[in-house]
Symmetry: C2
Subunit: 395 residues, 2 copies
């Protein structure tokens, strides 16, 4: 690398985020392998030298255009230590490294990434939590105006936060014409295609390749449990609904899982640890996925529900586990049928559901295709796109 | 449900698969909650009554068009037992249930789904295993002719099996024109879109939103570790490569992970259990994913590698873990640089790489954009599509 004027070299590369200064740096204490930083509110945060050097924001270490790292820490000595550290007049941390590199850290950025116990607990506590619901959500169903969602970023953000935290929302005053979902999904990002297409048409078909495309009662399920990653958000847009029957039913799968956990930790644990195969097959495809019905996240919280009885393969578990597995499965399904969990509503033309397909299970009651037309159009968008759009809107 | 003639009702609904009969049913022994089946080769398989009733293939329980289940087991009594069981003249298992339902099971199907220990072990042993490789793969790189892949199902299958088991393949005699990947991907199924588009163009760009779109050396990485599900297969199609530099480098991430495991189970374990944040951010998006660098599958085997130093956020781990985390990370990267693991080759116009992006890490050496044009086109296809196509081709 060329020699760079140290003051320029140490100019931090801005992230797209901003880092407000909630506390000032007031003290530095160098130990063998780390710098103990004291903040104006009394918190002490150790930062290892490897970590500090790894996160140097200078223009030699980070490419300014992409804001991506050029340095690989393995190219720096493992025993590297500072020659000098100080807090400069702007309150930034300055480090002159042995060997000549210079780093300068913004105190807001440093505080936001501190990994002492208090800082980690604080970040953990700020993470959004799902708000569990039951039948009572029918009284306060989050509904948003389609045109406002398209035109107003504030409305868009409120809608997306409701999808993230409640998992079930409705849009109203939607044009009842095909392809509207293409335009709506663009407000978030792009559509997740599947073997059923970019958009899928939910209609009764003679050559159905899924029970979804019949007029049968369709029990509570998540879509595409047959895939390693179930689609995150599901959109169901009603174009016409003149048939008798065919009501939409929703339950909060996280609330059901939590109820099972309260009632019987043993049965809950069986659904978390038994791999179940879900299958979707046609002349031209053969999808299979082996995964638990309830998946816990890395912190042990309920992170995902995966369920579609009509796509489930035969249980494959040790003989001695099979009776308890059936008890757990039966109890889970029985809970989804309890009125206290169920929200039932008929979707009319010009309305659409948007829900978290990895949490909220949906069903359709039987309808009579001879009584009138019924045509829903659907698509998926992944959680990654939802969370990315929320972060950008919140910048 | 309407009354159905029992002989019709018990006619099994064919799956798209076939179930060869490797052993005959020779004995039935009814216990309180299960039927112990004895096979002509001496194996004994218990089947619980709940399991058998759940898997009844009759046309009341399974819809013939979609081959999906209509029955929900919770609608059957938990203490259900057979009134009569027998092996019929075709060697099928017949069950008359208390209450009047009749089930008939094909012995090949039953054997294929038996869950006694021997049957489960047998299925486990038949699962495909990744074949680990190092630099020596350069001598026997699996190469396939583009036209043969398009026209011949046998070649297509051999190619896809190489992708599944080795994770790195090359296609040759590919037209060096844009959009060829659209046609090729259709031989498998559909393309997985990302925030970089359906197809992405790898070229040096002034306004790069990823270091991939610069002329820099790009260290070994997987693509889109910033997403919950990293794309399964990556295609890189060379349209023109007249620039100096810019060689492709590949390592088998599973072989690296296994080498680390052999060398230091402690450091291996740290990379399996520490969540690392990967980030990709632009004016219009902000992706973040928290996941381990090495992910084990449900059976504790190495299932996925996730790594891109230039997309990694600052480590966030307990203070006491940080020094070991840096040791593990440094060692992992150092291993990827060892010549014994590295396959380096220049891709020429009319060639393309197809590799398992969740296993094989790829790199590009620095190139000189002033020395000539360099244009690669890429896309992704998920593992679900790969495995589905292989199963259909193997029917």
């Amino acid at each position: 690398m060329n020699a760079v004027d140290p003051s320029l070299q140490a100019a931090p590369i801005a992230d797209w985020r901003t880092y407000p200064i909630s506390a000032d740096l007031v003290g530095l204490d160098a130990t063998r392998d780390s710098l103990q930083v004291t903040w104006s509110d009394g918190r002490v945060s150790p930062f290892h030298y490897q970590w500090l050097r790894d996160n140097c924001p200078c223009s030699q270490c980070v490419y300014g255009v992409t804001r991506e790292q050029l340095l690989e820490i393995v190219d720096v000595a493992e025993e590297l230590a500072p020659q000098r550290t100080c807090i400069d007049e702007q309150g930034h941390l300055l480090i002159d490294w042995q060997g000549g590199h210079h780093s300068r850290f913004h105190p807001g950025w440093l505080r936001a990434h501190a990994y002492d116990l208090a800082s980690r607990d604080e970040r953990q506590a700020q993470r959004p939590q799902p708000q569990l619901w039951g039948a009572e959500l029918a009284e306060q169903l989050p509904r948003f105006d389609y045109q406002a969602v398209l035109e107003d970023d504030g409305t868009l953000l409120r809608w997306l936060l409701a999808v993230r935290d409640l998992g079930l929302t409705q849009l109203v005053a939607v044009p009842a014409s095909e392809g509207v979902l293409l335009r709506l999904a663009k407000r978030i990002s792009f559509i997740r295609e599947s073997n059923f297409g970019v958009l899928f048409d939910v209609q009764s078909k003679a050559d159905a390749d899924s029970n979804a495309y019949t007029a049968f009662n369709l029990p509570l399920h998540t879509d595409l449990p047959t895939r390693e990653l179930q689609p995150g958000l599901q959109f169901l847009h009603c174009l016409v609904n003149d048939a008798t029957g065919g009501e939409s039913v929703f339950v909060d799968g996280f609330a059901i899982a939590e109820a099972l956990h309260q009632e019987s930790p043993e049965l809950f644990d069986i659904l978390c640890t038994t791999l179940v195969e879900f299958r979707n097959k046609s002349r031209n495809s053969d999808y299979r996925c082996l995964a638990p019905i309830i998946a816990l996240d890395a912190e042990g919280r309920i992170g995902e529900v995966r369920m579609a009885n009509f796509l489930r393969g035969p249980f494959d578990a040790p003989v001695e586990r099979m009776p308890a597995l059936y008890r757990a499965y039966r109890r889970f399904i029985a809970l989804t049928r309890e009125p206290r969990f169920r929200l039932q509503r008929r979707l009319e033309a010009g309305q659409l559901w948007c829900f978290d397909n990895r949490r909220v299970m949906h069903a359709r009651s039987e309808f009579d295709p001879a009584s009138g037309a019924r045509h829903f159009q659907g698509c998926y968008v992944d959680r990654d796109e939802l969370l990315s759009r929320i972060r950008v809107l919140q910048r």
